[in-house]
Subunit: 366 residues, 2 copies
C-alpha cells in the first residue's frame, strides 16, 4: 500500500477541497497523510491522517528562502515526510516554485541528476498521450539538462504510459539538426550520439507536429514548456469558442452545436488540466506530483492517484537506470566546467540560494 | 503606384504559381517585377514585368554565403531592385533564411536597429488581429532587441492594423515582472521604464492569454515565435479534427458536423497561413514580406498586396519615428559592450558571416 503526503496549503479553493480529493483517493486504497490547517479542514474524512500545518508558503515570492526559514510550512512538512520514509511520494496543491524548492531541500536531486524536471502527459484523443517535459521547473537549460530530460521522459513513458520503446523528440523551430537555440543544437548532437544510447531519439519536431503522433515524449526547457502548455490550453479553448459562437448565430448552427455536444465534450476533457492530475517531478530521490492551485477535489484525487501509480511503477528507479545505461549521469567529480551544478554531491543549498523559479539561478550556471 | 519586387524562386508549387499570384495583385493596381525562371513561367501575365532569374538559393544550407556568391539568384536580384529604387518593397516566396540574408545584404538594417524582426498579424475572429513578433528571424534575442521589437510592433499596429494605441505585451511564463528568461525580465524592466515611452506596454502575458484580447502586439524571441505560430496552427487543426472525427462516429454527430460547417470554415480561415499573406520584415531600410514556400497563387497575391499596403502606410518611417521618440535606437558609437551588434554603422557582413538563421550568429553576440 502506497502512502502519499499531500500539501493542502495553497489551493485556491482552500484546504477542505484538497481534503475532499484526498478522501476520494483514499477510497481507492491509497493511504494519505494530509498537511494543512486542521481548523479550516474541519472533520477529517475517513482513511486520511491529518497533520495540523496551518502555515502555507505557496504565495511566497522567494520560495527558497521561505523553505529554509519555515520548517513548519505544509509543503516543507509534506516533503520531509517523504524524506523520512513516512510516505513514498508527495503531492503539492500550491504553486510550483515552493514545491520545487521544498523538494530540492528535503528530497534532493537523485545522484547524477543536474536538474529535476516537470513531466506532464497530455491526452491526445484516439492516440496515446504525449509526454511533455520540462513544463516549468527550469526556465533555462543547458544541453546536458535536456539530454537527461530525454532519458527521464522515456523512462517515465515506459513505466507509467506503458510504451515499450517511446519515441523521443526535441521541440524546435525546424526538423534539421542545426535548427534551434545553441542549447538545443548541442543536445541534438549528444542525443544522436552515444548519450542517446537506449533511447528512441527521433530528432527535432516542430510545434505543428506535437499532436501528429510522431513522438511520444517531447523535450524542451521549462520556459518553452510553460508557453507550450498554456498555448495548447488557450488555443484549444479558443477553437471551441470560435466554432460554437459562430455556429450559434444561426438556427441551423445552434442545432449543429447541440448535435456535436459529445464531441465538444471529448475535446474539452482532453484539455482539462485536472485530467492528468498534475505534473510529475522527476529527477529527485523520490517522486512528487505538482497539482494546480485551481484544481477542484477531482483534480487533487487524480494527482494523488498518479503519485501512487508512479511509486508502484518505480518511476524513480527506472529513470535512474536509464540515465546510467546511457552514460548521461553527471560526472562524479572534477570533470566539469566552473559554474556547473556539480561537482560531486548534490548542492541543494546552492540551488536554493537563488530559488528554482528565479532566472538568476540559471544565469549563474551558464 | 507601388512597385513590388517578387522572388518567384523557391515556391513549392513552382514559379508559375507565384506568377499567377502576381497577376492577381496586378489586377488590383500593384506594379510587380517578377524575378524567376522565364522558361518555367512561360507566358507572362498582363501587368507583370519579368526578369529572367533561373537561379534560386531558397534551399541553400548556408544562406549568407549563398547570397554573397550568387548575385544572380532571384531573391538577391529582388532585394537589389528595392535597394536601387526600382521597387519599394520585396516579397520572398522561398524560405526565411535566404530572404533575410539577402535583405540584410542589399537593404541593410535601418539606422539604430539591432536586428530585423518578422511580424505576423494573426486573425482572431470577432476581434482585431493579434500581431506576433519576432516569428522567426532571430533564434535568440538580447533585451534591447525585444525592446525594439515592442516599438516596431506598435508602430506597425498603428500603421497597418489601424489601432490608435496598441497594447503591447511580452509573452512569458507568468504575469509577474520577474517571470521569464533573464532577457525577458530585463526587457520588461526597460519597457516599464523610459524605454517604454510612447508605448502602451501592458506587461507580461501567458500563452493562455494570446487570444483573450488583452494585448494587440505580443513580443517574443524568434525561437519562441516559431513555436507559438506552429502551435497555434497545429493545436487549432487538432481541435477541429478531434471534434469532427468524434462527431462523425454517430449519425447525430454527422448531421451536426454538416450544420456547423460554416463555423468550422471560419476557424479554418482564421488559421490559414495564406490569409495574412506572410510575415512583414521590419527594421530594414525598406519593407519585405516573407511568404511561405507552400503558398498557392492566392497566398502570394495576398503577400504582394500587404507589401504594397505597408509601403502606402509608411510602416518603415513610422517604425523609425517610434524608436527614435522612445530613445530605443542603438547608440551611435562607443557606448556598447564588446560583442554588440554595433557600434556605429550597420555591419551586414558580420551578421552574414554566420547567417541569420544560424544559432551561432546569436551566440557570438551574447
Amino acid at each position: 500500500m502506497v502512502t502519499v503526503a499531500v500539501d493542502a496549503g495553497g489551493a485556491d479553493l482552500g484546504p477542505r477541497e484538497v481534503a475532499a480529493g484526498a478522501a476520494r483517493a483514499a477510497e481507492k486504497g491509497i493511504r494519505v497523510v494530509l498537511f494543512g490547517s486542521a481548523s479550516e479542514i474541519g472533520a477529517v474524512p475517513a482513511g486520511i491522517e491529518l497533520v495540523d500545518a496551518p502555515v502555507s508558503i505557496a504565495k511566497q515570492a522567494e520560495p527558497a528562502n521561505a523553505v529554509r526559514t519555515t520548517p513548519e510550512a505544509s509543503i516543507v512538512q509534506a516533503t520531509r515526510a517523504v524524506a523520512e520514509g513516512r510516505a513514498q511520494a508527495f503531492v503539492s496543491g500550491g504553486s510550483t516554485g515552493p514545491a520545487l524548492a521544498a523538494a530540492l531541500f528535503n528530497l534532493r536531486r537523485d545522484r547524477g541528476v543536474y536538474r529535476p524536471a516537470l513531466a506532464l502527459p497530455i491526452p491526445n484523443p484516439g492516440r496515446s498521450p504525449i509526454l511533455l517535459l520540462d513544463v516549468g521547473a527550469n526556465v533555462t537549460c543547458r544541453p546536458e539538462h535536456l539530454v537527461q530530460f530525454a532519458h527521464m521522459g522515456s523512462a517515465f513513458a515506459q513505466a507509467v504510459l506503458g510504451l515499450d520503446s517511446p519515441r523521443v523528440a526535441l521541440l524546435s523551430n525546424g526538423e534539421e539538426p542545426g535548427k534551434g537555440t545553441p542549447e538545443l543544437v548541442a543536445a541534438h548532437e549528444q542525443l544522436a550520439g552515444s548519450r542517446g544510447t537506449g533511447l528512441g531519439f527521433v530528432g527535432n519536431i516542430e510545434g505543428t507536429q506535437i499532436f501528429e503522433g510522431v513522438a511520444d515524449v517531447v523535450v524542451m526547457d521549462g520556459f518553452t514548456g510553460n508557453i507550450t502548455l498554456k498555448l495548447i490550453e488557450g488555443v484549444s479553448s479558443r477553437a471551441l469558442r470560435v466554432v460554437t459562437e459562430t455556429a450559434a448565430t444561426t438556427a441551423r448552427g445552434r442545432l449543429g452545436n447541440s448535435l456535436i455536444g459529445p464531441a465538444m465534450e471529448q475535446l474539452r476533457e482532453s484539455i482539462d488540466p485536472e485530467g492528468p492530475g498534475g505534473a510529475y517531478m522527476l529527477g529527485l530521490r523520490q517522486l512528487g506530483v505538482v497539482a494546480h492551485g485551481r484544481f477542484s477535489a477531482r483534480g487533487f484525487a487524480h494527482a494523488i492517484e498518479v503519485a501512487a501509480r508512479g511509486v508502484q511503477q518505480d518511476v524513480i528507479g527506472r529513470t535512474r537506470t536509464a540515465l546510467q545505461e546511457a552514460g548521461a549521469l553527471r560526472p562524479a567529480s572534477g570533470r566539469e566546467s566552473p559554474g556547473d551544478d556539480g561537482p560531486g554531491r548534490d548542492r541543494p543549498k546552492r540551488e536554493l540560494a537563488a530559488g528554482p523559479s528565479e532566472p538568476a539561478a540559471t544565469v549563474s550556471t551558464q
